[in-house]
Symmetry: C2
Subunit: 439 residues, 2 copies
């Protein structure tokens, strides 16, 4: 794999893969900017202020610049903050959050073209997805946060590509990455979770910079008896790593969340929004929202009376309510304010979840019962954002807009959307990052 | 344990423990200074130069100052470079290399007394030794470099103590540390091995700084179902962590290596040096050095024709030869030069290893046969540096001198030895670090 990363160039990557890479980066940039003012960021910045560093790369959505290590740390953290970033569904890895911050920070520092940045991103994402597949599901099930552990390899590969490592150096970068791979699922629900991909990004840059200068490591950091795959997993399938490299692309399986909450509630939200669009529903006429759902919905998203924004993310009741009230379920709909809003509290009491064994994970049937006896029905077979029914470019634009408005100037947002879709034609990534500075 | 670390002060620590803490720090400082000019250090420095940072804490044995994170990284790395640092024999953890760099860097930055530095060091070391015991041996056997993984907790605890965390913050610091714990045994023999404790030291400072500012994490980072102990080990014995805290001290089990090579060759070296002291042996009269040794000796240290300095560290033949030629086996005896020196090459051919099942790991019987028929015999029952026969203060002074001469000015070395033995009386740790600047 090290050899393949070193030897693969922009021209070797198929158009469809580049297209998906650009969609990934647009989605990633939106979620990163959207969380730029989260309290966790200020905490990291106060640490950075204490230790210092050059001003080399932008904090997306803010004004500060930090050195490449800390910029990658913060941008990696913000992009996973809302759990609203992309997902490689097969392994539940979030491919962009550990890798995109690396290529943006190094791209800005070394004044690179967007072509080079896109190439390094795609290769890094491919590396981490494939390494994830080699150890998934055992690795994840035992308790590792795979975005964090495998993210170290993606970050190191992307950084190594940009720094121009040779094959031996790239192998060593993977070795150093293997020995820095960490991150536990126990941290879910705390700031340490989004810190994981940020730290992986930072670690990856360190690994590549050290390897570039001759730092030595194992040449079998992944596959050795006491290497990554054997120590952190009971399953090892190395054909997933090196099989059909350059022919088969994991990035094509990347998916994007239309709604800022747990994925099993997405079919319900999708159906309610569809009904809202089709009918003129007056909320005061709604008697009940009946939702036929997969068995996982009440288990993972069954909170009936959420009190905080974070809790609403685990409440299908709240999801259905805001979907009808607001016609969307973006980060805004999951604020502390919206959690306690009268209209949301009242409407979510009218939501009833009914588990049906035959309903799939990306499926839901919704009946909205009105006080005149009418029942409005919608059956979503594959929710938007699923592999079969992916978000359109238009959906991604709208998501980007919703996440960045109020943080970036309006005109920058529109310009960014334009530029991100023709990313490879933009001469320098600095043109992009310059537009990501807050108002 | 978080509560105990927060609430334990200098006065609560028994004198014998403080004494061992000082011996640990003296030994640590020597090995750190000794490796200050290793090529791996220059590689890390070139990375640091690229990203920048404040000049806050000294690189021991050099002139540079780096920010606290990078100073801890480099000093942690140098102190483990020669594999000549201290060992908690029960868990093969090296207690000082991840923790001492933290307390020195923060102590220097915040102009602390040596009392405070010693307290934080002892508590951090106690934390990591106990957490190691909770998961050893399973954790180590599966492939984790325990100095790296458990070192993260020691570093976070020590940093948290210095930064004055409250109990909740200390708990979170442990949580962040749990999610940064990494480091694989596969890296042994490469620069990534000594990088481990350095990175653990750096990680630990980050964990404590973040927790100090309100960064949240799990409150059960160690013991939760998907926490450190369950994910990284098949054994969990939590009584090792919290049992008899403040009564029983693991640091009292710390040991120091008199010789800069694998520990199973130590009884042989000890015996040969003893014979050299007792008799006027002319090397040209030696016909054979017959060594009755433990079964592990040829397995771990059986290299007959070592070509490099690193290889000589795995050659009991070379060890016995230099012990007789030089009367010591310090870092100097394991240089590339000494590996190829004529006298060493010739003499190690006369060494014969004979395994005896009844010989213990810290035992050896040596017969030096001379060409006049004389046989000189020495039976070492417990090699110097073992728990039963620890290095004396004088031995530690001599080791410190050998490691630092040529790097620090002579007068500084003598002053440092003096100060390290009355460490708690030194007003500021800056008085110590000022003496560690190279000539």
């Amino acid at each position: 794999m090290a050899k393949w990363i070193v030897e693969t160039g922009y021209e070797d990557i198929p158009e469809v893969v580049k297209k998906e890479g650009k969609r990934s980066l647009l989605n990633w940039l939106g979620v990163a900017v959207g969380a730029a003012y989260h309290p966790a960021v200020d905490i990291v910045l106060s640490m950075v202020e204490e230790v210092g560093g050059k001003e080399q790369a932008s904090l997306l959505g803010r004004k500060e610049k930090l050195n490449i290590l800390f910029a990658a740390l913060v941008n990696g953290m913000t992009s996973h903050m809302f759990d609203f970033d992309d997902t490689h569904l097969e392994t539940v890895l979030h491919p962009s959050s550990p890798v995109a911050p690396v290529v943006f920070a190094l791209g800005e520092r070394y004044n690179l073209s967007c072509k080079d940045v896109l190439t390094a991103f795609i290769l890094g994402a491919e590396a981490e997805c494939r390494i994830s597949q080699a150890v998934y599901p055992d690795h994840y099930e035992v308790g590792w946060h795979i975005t964090s552990t495998a993210g170290n390899f993606g970050a190191a590969a992307a950084a190594g590509k940009i720094l121009g490592l040779d094959i031996k150096q790239m192998t060593y970068a993977f070795g150093i990455a293997a020995s820095q791979a960490s991150g536990l699922k126990e941290m879910f629900g705390t700031m340490t979770k989004p810190y994981h991909p940020g730290k992986a990004a930072m670690n990856g840059i360190m690994a590549a910079m050290l390897a570039a200068k001759g730092f030595t490591s194992s040449e079998q950091g992944i596959e050795a008896k006491t290497g990554f795959a054997n120590v952190l997993s009971t399953k090892q399938d190395y054909t997933q790593i090196t099989g059909k490299l350059g022919e088969h692309w994991e990035l094509l399986k990347n998916s994007y969340k239309p709604f800022a909450c747990g994925i099993v509630a997405h079919p319900t939200i999708d159906a309610v929004i569809k009904l809202r669009k089709q009918h003129q529903i007056r909320v005061e006429e709604v008697v009940e929202i009946e939702a036929y759902v997969n068995r996982l919905v009440p288990i993972l998203m069954g909170k009936e009376n959420p009190r905080t924004g974070l809790e609403t993310k685990f409440s299908t009741y709240h999801c259905a309510a805001v979907a009808l009230l607001d016609g969307k379920a973006g980060e805004e709909q999951f604020s502390d304010e919206r959690a306690q809003a009268e209209d949301a509290v009242a409407l979510r009491k009218k939501v009833r979840l009914i588990v049906k064994p035959e309903i799939n994970k990306d499926e839901a049937i919704i009946n909205i019962k009105l006080n005149n006896g009418t029942i409005l029905t919608e059956h979503v077979e594959h929710a938007v954002g699923s592999m079969i029914n992916p978000m359109t470019d238009g959906d991604l634009q709208e998501k980007f807009y919703d996440l960045t408005k109020g943080i970036l100037p309006e005109e920058n947002i529109h310009k960014l959307i334009q530029l991100m879709f023709k990313f490879e034609e933009v001469a320098k990534v600095n043109e992009i990052t310059a537009l990501c500075s807050s108002t």
